[in-house]
């Protein structure tokens, strides 16, 4: 019996996201890594987890790996399919979403996200997709989990554009603005895990992957990194986790 011991950065992120989702019941999810992470959580520790797609699908039972959040395979055999207005008004703003998974081109130390432009807004160097639903998801979902590759272009001192609010300038800034959700809780990357579990709500290194150190992680981050007093080594993906991903969730290896 061969046990996989090697894993890709994507697999590491999927496994860590799935673990972070343990015990969550209603998750707002996009396709790609977040979709695979949710399904890994369902097949391992959280079979009761319900997925809500931004496209208006609740209780999807796709007959194939969906290629986008609008894939028709998500509709056929789903429990409920609703208009986008109902999705945003009743499900998201109504407060039903426990966790949403977000990512972006840039993130700052308070978990604010940029998905709009690199450079100046009026004269952008690179025009990115924009908010989509991210801005209101970041405000209304009870908790936000981020999934992003760790690198210095993404983990910046100052965002070029703040598309979706995280903890804003830190502390209780969100509550002061009356935001319903609690904001970013965890940042899952291919090299480390961060939480915001401190009064300033500042991104804090809590786990490093095999082969990484606080110093190596700092080298990918533009600001002086806050480090948890009990920094831990990440438990690598288990053979079981990897087997579910490779054999059941992404047999074609699209997201490897």
């Amino acid at each position: 019996m061969t046990q996989p011991t090697e894993y890709t950065p994507s697999e590491l992120m999927i496994v860590n996201a799935a673990r972070a989702l343990k015990g969550k019941r209603v998750v707002f999810v996009g396709v790609g890594l977040p979709n695979i992470a949710c399904n890994l959580a369902r097949r391992s520790h959280s079979p009761e987890m319900e997925l809500v797609y931004e496209s208006g699908v609740f209780g999807a039972h796709p007959a194939r790996l969906p290629l986008s959040i609008g894939d028709p395979t998500l509709v056929s055999d789903a429990t409920a399919v609703t208009s986008i207005a109902d999705l945003f008004m009743l499900y998201l703003q109504g407060g039903l979403i426990e966790v949403a998974l977000l990512g972006g081109a840039q993130i700052d130390r308070y978990g604010n996200l940029n998905t709009t432009v690199v450079g100046d807004y009026a004269q952008p160097k690179t025009r990115l997709p924009g908010s989509g639903g991210a801005c209101e998801i970041a405000i209304n979902a009870r908790e936000i989990f981020m999934i992003m590759r760790l690198n210095r272009r993404a983990f910046v001192e100052k965002l070029d554009f703040r598309t979706s609010p995280g903890h804003l300038d830190g502390g209780n800034a969100r509550q002061k603005l009356g935001m319903p959700g609690l904001g970013p809780q965890v940042v899952i990357t291919d090299r480390a895990l961060f939480t915001f579990d401190n009064p300033e709500r500042e991104m804090m290194l809590t786990e490093v992957a095999t082969g990484e150190t606080a110093e190596s992680i700092q080298s990918h981050i533009a600001w002086p990194l806050r480090i948890s007093p009990d920094l831990r080594q990440m438990t690598p993906p288990t053979p079981t986790e990897l087997a579910i991903i490779r054999q059941e969730l992404d047999p074609a290896g699209l997201y490897r």
């Binding site: 209780g59 509709v75 056929s76 055999d77």
Partner: protein
Amino acid sequence: MSQAVSRFVNDGDVVAIEGFTAFICFAAGHEIIRQKKQELTLVRMTPDLIYDQMVAAGVAKKMIFSYLGNPGVGSLYAIRRAVEKGIPRPLELEEYSHFGMVARYLAGASNLPFFPLRSYTGSDMLAANPLIQFVQSPYGDGEIAVVPPLKPDVAFLHAQRADAQGNTQLWGLLGMQKEVAFAAKKVVIVVEEVVEEAVIRRDPNRTLIPGLIVDAVVHEPFGAHPSYVQGYYDRDNAFYLDWGEQSKTAESTDAWLQEWVYGVPDRAAYLQKLGQERLASLNPGEMWSGEVNYGRYA
């Protein structure tokens, strides 16, 4: 139903039993009367016979509503007795227009601080209900009426079918069932049929209320009698007409409650008393929807 009422309805609660002419869950109302709940605030756009009976039974201290009538027949005498004469106890009224009630449910369902609507300008309803306010449009085009959110403590909503998880499908007059379900803190779904999840999943667009927000599913056939459930039974119009007479005095109303509510232990007994023939006379015949193809996409 007995269990659902004792578990989810507390004295003093704000209770909504909704449905626009159709899907009115009399089964829930009668059980609330039998369990002698007290000091309830009853919410319904059209109080109809169900709240006339509940008010007559003395379970309510207040009613939030928009149209007080026996549809197609006339007055709701028990509610009028409570309002005009305090019998059996005074009933406080909080009054909106239909759209105002819908807007309150919408605000409640979607966690908005208010919902705007073009109504109430030039109406005395503004003076009668200080919760109706106006806000200025920031786009320089005047002001507009708004109403605050309404989030009932518990809603009883009748439908044709749901699965055991509460994923609920209904067809016909959709009314405000979806909005109330999302607005309420607790939701009890009462259905003609409990079906397999697979039946629901064959037509996901027909699922108006997801199991996600449902706290209990009660299987109660004919639970909406004398109102109707599209495709399952017709409105028992004789009942509505009879109630117009029966409810004219407090005594005759009480007699009816004794016989048909307190005098029966549950809905099954009520239906038996009503008789198979009467129920059969409400059969609506068949007119099928046809099928659409969602595609397999495997």
